[in-house]
């Protein structure tokens, strides 16, 4: 809630907004007026993680440390709920107005976040336009996921998959498929040992495109021979993680891309 300054003293929209979380970065970049947002997290400027890297590269980028943020003299700081709590608490102690955002777990959260940022930044009109667009895109024939629809599961670094009540499950279901984590009743990001994945045997295994570029212990699991044998190319879908990481208007793209990829896969299979 914004403080009530009374009619005589209309709250001025903040002019030095700093965002320290990749997701709030992208939402703020979409909603803020030119010049209003002065710094975003360094991840927002990296093309491998951000869909607005070009826009973000025009701004100052921060690494989320309190000292760095305070020197920017922000009048509003946007952070994720799980963004370095120590930094957020310190900033609050120092009297900075920090607003935190929970990760988006469903489509409704995206609209709620857009609306909250719109209000905070005094850009309700821009936010409402984005929300309206989002609602139209998501309102498309929301066919009830068929009980025989293919099951799609994600598998990533360190054998993690995503459980139910997640943005991923919403996207998969909106694209017309069943979601592995939901079928298995997993909660949040869950470790799924390779054995269990093979037994669960989703029809298609979703892997994140950008992660294949990394070599290391964590991503080694994606090269396991058993994984290759059980899920050959025709049972894989490589998706662009940038569209899935944050709940933003780009999430609509994740749904569309998944539909297209699955359709082209089906063509190959025939």
């Amino acid at each position: 809630m914004l403080p009530d300054w009374g009619v005589a003293n209309q709250p001025k929209a903040p002019q030095r907004v700093v965002s320290m979380n990749l997701c709030t970065d992208q939402l703020a970049l979409l909603v803020a007026a030119p010049g209003q947002l002065i710094s975003v997290s360094y991840l927002a400027a990296e093309a491998s993680s951000s869909l607005m890297a070009k826009e973000a590269a025009q701004l100052h980028t921060n690494r989320g440390l309190a000292e760095q943020i305070i020197r920017l003299q922000p009048d509003l700081v946007l952070a994720g709920q799980y963004t370095s709590r120590a930094s957020v608490n310190l900033l609050r102690r120092l009297g900075v107005n920090v607003q935190t955002f929970a990760p988006a777990y469903r489509f409704a959260d995206i609209s709620a976040h857009l609306a909250k940022i719109g209000t905070l930044l005094g850009q309700e009109a821009r936010a409402n336009a984005l929300i309206a667009q989002l609602d139209t895109a998501l309102a498309e024939p929301n066919q009830h996921t068929h009980r025989s629809a293919p099951v799609l599961g994600s598998y990533g670094a360190n054998s993690y998959t995503t459980g139910q009540s997640s943005l991923e499950s919403e996207v998969v279901k909106a694209a017309g498929f069943r979601h592995l984590g939901t079928e298995l009743a997993l909660q949040g990001a869950s470790k799924l040992p390779l054995e269990q994945l093979i037994y669960a045997s989703p029809d298609r295994l979703m892997t994140w495109k950008s992660w294949s570029q990394y070599t290391g212990r964590a991503t080694e699991i994606l090269l396991h021979p058993a994984l290759d044998r059980w899920f050959p190319k025709e049972r894989r879908v490589a998706v662009d993680s940038r569209y899935w990481m944050c709940g933003t208007p780009f999430t609509v793209e994740a749904i569309n891309q998944l539909k297209t990829q699955m359709e082209s896969h089906a063509d190959h299979a025939d």
Binding site: A157, N158, S159, K191, P193, L194, E195, Q196, I198, Y199, S201, Y214, T215, G216, R217, A218, T219, I221, H224, P225, A226, R229, W230
Partner: protein
């Protein structure tokens, strides 16, 4: 306390124990599978998923448990004999941690992506640096505590550098790996890892076993050993390269697993009558049994929590270490 048991019997019991634990290790997992079904009644009798899981996931895991446990047990027994130090062990002396550092450097400089064997080679170079350093230190002063404290310092240093390397990596998941490199795990390893570690572990074990005779003589004191015609330089070199090869390659695929090389030789020593030449092969088998058991425990106790192996070995090994430390102190005070 001496327990009378013929050496051949002891070895037969250990072999049987290893085989039993190996079979259990293959059977245990998310679902209990009987490997005999697949073996005796042909691949057709079990589902394709079971077959794949048995052959590509559980079998390499059990094989790694066996060879890595053997490498750790054997190198622990050799180091204890060579340094004449009851507390010597690759984990405590910082050899495993240095091997981890070598492995991490190979992975995050991209070397292992260009050349697969760069991973075990870099890890064994890390281990080699640690052993040479410790040997040099132990040469100057045979004081038990000096060596152990050097090992503590080396472990912290290697751990810090491993952490630094992982933090500098552009891979967003790298920092989370520190747990694996410090506590070790055999989860979801494959035949690729067996192929990577096995040749080095075999070669290293041959070198370590070749020290057996000399260690027998050395247990009577350095001068006696020399007068018996033991070439101490050769023994030193065999032990150093044997440890580096076997512990380095083991750590490259499993991360650092502590205490196996400490606990196993101590448990077996009274059973083999304090003869290093008998203790070395027995410790290899004992190490294999211990690590297989620990790897069964991580899957049995918390099947879905991906418990690290080092947690189990430390839970068993650390109290044992304290007990040993207490005893050693009493003995040196006398």
């Amino acid at each position: 306390m001496q327990i009378k048991i013929p050496y051949s019997w002891l070895m037969a019991i250990l072999v049987a124990l290893v085989l039993l634990l190996f079979a259990i290790s293959i059977s245990i997992g998310h679902v209990w599978l009987n490997p005999l079904d697949a073996l005796w009644s042909g691949a057709g009798s079990i589902s394709a998923a079971d077959h794949l899981i048995l052959t590509e996931i559980r079998l390499p895991r059990a094989v790694l448990g066996l060879i890595i446990g053997a490498a750790l047990g054997l190198s622990g027994a050799t180091l204890q004999g060579l340094l004449r130090n009851p507390l010597a062990e690759p984990g405590l002396l910082g050899i495993s941690a240095s091997a981890s550092l070598g492995a991490v450097l190979a992975i995050y400089t991209g070397l292992s992506a260009a050349f697969a064997y760069a991973l075990p080679i870099s890890a064994l170079l890390g281990a080699l640096v640690a052993v040479v350093l410790l040997r040099a230190l132990a040469g100057k002063s045979a004081d038990i505590l000096t060596i152990i404290l050097s090992g503590v310092a080396l472990t912290s240093l290697a751990g810090a550098l491993t952490s630094l390397t992982l933090n500098m990596s552009s891979n967003p998941f790298a920092a989370l790996e520190i747990v694996f490199w410090m506590l070790g795990s055999l989860a979801d390893r494959s035949w690729v890892h067996v192929g990577m570690a096995l040749p080095f572990i075999l070669l290293g074990s041959v070198l370590l076993l070749a020290t057996a005779r000399a260690l027998d003589a050395l247990s009577l004191g350095q001068d006696v050993a020399r007068s018996m015609g033991v070439n101490l330089n050769r023994t030193n070199l065999l032990a150093i390269f044997g440890t580096a090869l076997s512990v380095g390659a083991a750590t490259a695929v499993s991360g650092a697993i502590g205490f196996v090389g400490l606990v196993v030789p101590h448990l077996l020593r009274p059973l083999v009558g304090n003869r290093p030449s008998h203790l070395l092969p027995a410790s290899a088998l004992g190490g294999a049994a211990f690590l297989l058991l620990a790897d069964i425990a991580v899957r049995f106790v918390f099947p879905d929590k991906d418990l690290k192996l080092g947690v189990i070995t430390a839970l068993v090994g650390a109290p044992f270490f304290f007990w040993l430390l207490h005893n050693v102190k009493k003995r040196t005070q006398l």
